[in-house]
């Protein structure tokens, strides 16, 4: 069985990708606060929601990246 190596550089890259997702989730929260005219303190109180949303976004990005990697591998084989 082959070891999966998660290099420091890869970890750093994944963290940055999640960080982008976290920022996007925060932007979604701010947009929803403006759209539904809810209190601004929801920026802090809804942080749990924001973290969960960022993880969902990260998962979505991961699926897209994996699909892209598989597609690229198939192209390379040809």
């Amino acid at each position: 069985m082959k070891d999966i190596v998660f290099t420091k550089a890869a970890q750093k890259r994944e963290f940055y990708i999640w960080l982008v997702c976290f920022v996007v989730a925060n932007i979604i929260n701010v947009i929803s606060i403006i759209k539904f005219q809810t209190p601004w303190y929801e920026i802090f109180t809804q942080i749990g929601y924001v973290v969960v949303t960022s993880l969902l976004l990260y998962g979505l990005v991961l699926v897209v990246r994996l699909a892209w990697r598989i597609f690229r591998g198939l192209l390379a084989k040809r």
């Binding site: 979604i28 929260n29 947009i31 929803s32 759209k35 539904f36 929801e42 109180t45 809804q46 929601y49």
Partner: protein, 436 residues
């Protein structure tokens, strides 16, 4: 509920200390009022010892400052029933003899409606302090005569409008007057039962004697027996009196039981000077909805019977994120092929409501005799206090007077098929029971 529990309910509602200014008729419930009695006892005679009379006996037996010294009924079995509880009481079959009894300070009148006025007038004239069951009298003129006689002689007269002494009604009215449900825009009363309203009769010649409620010679039927209680709620909540009444009544279902001639199905609409309507409906051949007394406001509803508060304010929608997700969900789930319905049934809200006070005792209204914890005992205690002190509780007589007048007026409106207003000659000074 004993006096301690009642006072505890009142203080839980935040009434302690302010009760006298806002609820002057509850003075007898205060500790100060109790101290005034200081071991004194009220000597009471009961006129009419049928089911309602015995209901009061159960409460009187729990009161330490009452001696029931005389009993009167012209139906011997009822008199003997009551005499079991008070073997030392003098027994009479003519109420006038009881009124001649100098030992009797106060009388409790629980007789058929057509006798209320006459007996109350005679009792007041005999110098007795009087508690009479509702309704106050059989006709508009008789009610006015009773009111004026009490005023002229300055005695004590209380009528059996027990909701005025029920903590949940007091609390609800205070909330209404504070504007918790916004402006009052409707008052809805109903009382449904499914029974023939008959009592068993040992022999046919006693039919009208026992089942007096069913015959217009002795009773005004559902309006005076049931509506009278609920109409008083409307004036209490609105802080004003109705201006006019219209109604419809019929004998629909119980037509083959006997020769009754009071309606078994009635609907009445009372209109207040500001245009708000109060409705009363009673059907005694269907009991699904039971008894209901609802005050409808622009911001919510209070159901007086169940002591529940239902708000019309929209429920909080949640955070911005919640709303965004809900919007996305509804976008995904909505049917894009068909347009939405142009009309949908506006069924009642299923909001559970909020109790206006803890441990509420709900009365179903099914009993024709009375119910526990409906304010009857507290009303009787107020009467006993008034018998001993000679002080007439404030404001409640006018409430009872108008409840009777409007019940009678509605019955007239039904029989005459007209919209009726209370003639000026029947108007007496009225101070609304506002409890801000």
């Amino acid at each position: 509920m004993n006096r301690k529990e009642f006072l505890s309910d009142c203080s839980r509602m935040g009434f302690a200390g302010i009760a006298l200014s806002l609820f002057p008729w509850l003075e007898s419930c205060t500790e100060k009022a109790q101290q005034e009695l200081s071991g004194e006892r009220a000597r009471i005679g009961i006129i009419g010892t049928g089911s309602r009379g015995l209901f009061h006996v159960q409460h009187l037996l729990q009161m330490p400052n009452v001696d029931v010294v005389a009993l009167c009924d012209n139906y011997r079995p009822h008199l003997e029933d009551a005499a079991q509880y008070y073997p030392d009481a003098k027994l009479y079959d003519d109420y006038r003899r009881l009124l001649d009894d100098k030992n009797v300070q106060g009388v409790i009148i629980t007789t058929p409606l057509y006798l209320h006025g006459r007996m109350t007038l005679d009792a007041l004239s005999a110098g007795k302090r009087v508690f009479c069951e509702k309704s106050m009298a059989f006709t508009l003129d008789e009610a006015l005569e009773v009111y004026n006689r009490r005023k002229e002689l300055g005695g004590v007269l209380l009528i059996g409008q027990q909701r005025l002494f029920d903590p949940k009604y007091i609390k609800a009215m205070q909330m209404i007057h504070q504007g918790v449900i916004g402006d009052v825009v409707g008052v809805r009363n109903y009382w449904y039962r499914n029974n023939n309203w008959r009592r068993e009769v040992p022999s046919p010649e006693l039919e009208r004697h026992i089942n007096w409620r069913l015959y217009s010679e002795y009773s005004r039927g559902l309006m005076t027996e049931l509506a009278c209680h609920q109409l008083q709620n409307g004036s209490w909540a609105m802080g004003m009196l109705p201006e006019q009444v219209m109604g419809s009544g019929h004998l629909v279902h119980w037509t083959n039981e006997d020769e009754r001639d009071v309606y078994d199905t009635v609907s009445a609409i009372f209109t207040y000077p500001n245009g708000v309507n109060m409705t009363f409906e009673s059907i005694i051949s269907n009991k699904h909805y039971g008894m209901g007394e609802q005050i409808l406001g622009t911001k919510g509803t209070i159901d007086l019977v169940t002591a529940m508060h239902y708000t019309d304010e929209p429920a909080p929608k949640g955070s911005g994120m919640d709303q965004l997700i809900a919007q996305i969900e509804s976008g995904i789930m909505s049917n894009s092929v068909f347009a939405g319905t142009s009309w949908a049934a506006e069924t009642a809200t299923l909001a559970p409501g909020i109790p206006i006070m803890p441990n509420v005792k709900v009365v179903s209204g099914e009993s024709s005799v009375g119910a526990e914890a409906d304010g009857s005992k507290e009303l009787l205690e107020a009467f006993i206090h008034a018998v001993i002190t000679g002080k007439q509780p404030e404001k409640v007589l006018e409430e009872s007077y108008y409840a009777t007048q409007f019940a009678l007026l509605a019955d007239m409106a039904m029989h005459e098929n007209k919209i009726l207003r209370l003639d000026d000659k029947y108007k007496v000074p009225y101070q609304p029971l506002k409890m801000r």
